[in-house]
Symmetry: C3
Subunit: 136 residues, 3 copies
Amino acid sequence: MKIVEKDFSISSKHRNQMIDITSQVSSVVSQSGITNGDAIVYCPHTTAAITINENADPSVSHDVLLTLADIVPHHRPGYRHSEGNSDAHCKSSLVGCSELILIKDRTLALGTWQGIFFCEFDGPRHREVMVQIRGE
Amino acid sequence: MKIVEKDFSISSKHRNQMIDITSQVSSVVSQSGITNGDAIVYCPHTTAAITINENADPSVSHDVLLTLADIVPHHRPGYRHSEGNSDAHCKSSLVGCSELILIKDRTLALGTWQGIFFCEFDGPRHREVMVQIRGE
Amino acid sequence: MKIVEKDFSISSKHRNQMIDITSQVSSVVSQSGITNGDAIVYCPHTTAAITINENADPSVSHDVLLTLADIVPHHRPGYRHSEGNSDAHCKSSLVGCSELILIKDRTLALGTWQGIFFCEFDGPRHREVMVQIRGE
């Protein structure tokens, strides 16, 4: 059993944005030398998230962000947090701050249409992504 | 440390459906020979998800699907994805495409009322479920 | 590779409540003797969840619970589950019943503002939290 940990940085350009980080995570996997196991992709921020969804058609990200904006409005009567980003915190807990992907034959075992996304909900900002690969 | 990986197939019958896959995952655990560790249950599809919820009363699945349909309508002004299944992609990111369950004494350490469900959001379809057991 | 498992109990005081359990999880990590690896925090209940969000300002928890109450009303026409807690089951599947946190240098590698919360959606109740630490 081997554990390899590597972080990388990204910069978002909009308040709400889904950034495809599949290639960065794949690089960590290939460099790890691990053949079978799993990868944790973790977001150490409370106004962002990690999700897996279709990355072939960018309309999918658009529609996910549209839906989240509709479910969690930027301003809602009753919000108490004074920084004006309560919506971003709520979206973070709904989507979740990590994903787990299996590794088979030295590659991420994603489905045909799956990509890994960093979800920015309070950008533009400079952000960190943590990746841990475990296996043999 | 041992890693055992096994996939299985299921077929959904409705557009939206929660299918109890607890027994299939339990079988992978018993066959793995692993006593203590964890199981990852992973859905390699972008219009489906994995969740853990009550499986004693089927009304719970009904009410979860009802709530998701209310939060994420099938057709919403502004959706750009042309395949007519934007709602399914959104539900997938809200529920999440994997679950992690502990293994103790060769069995899934689920709570009394917990079962593992494959959530179909764009069926009927033939689907795959990936299970990885890690432990000793 | 070492696996350490420890459960602890908590008591909620309200129907909906986010309880900061970061210090309890941190204790399990320090007592485990594991330097690098990860921690699974798992909720074995179907009307509760685990999330990671800001724990510096309690307004964030307030706003997350407010948003969840708005998205998933306590009573909705069409609910079939007869126990009156369908909303709690739905919130559980939306937020998710576990979180995964990396361990670096014997400590939880949480972001600056991140804390781990047990989310009660059908309290007040006595609840269990399961923690598994894996690593070396």
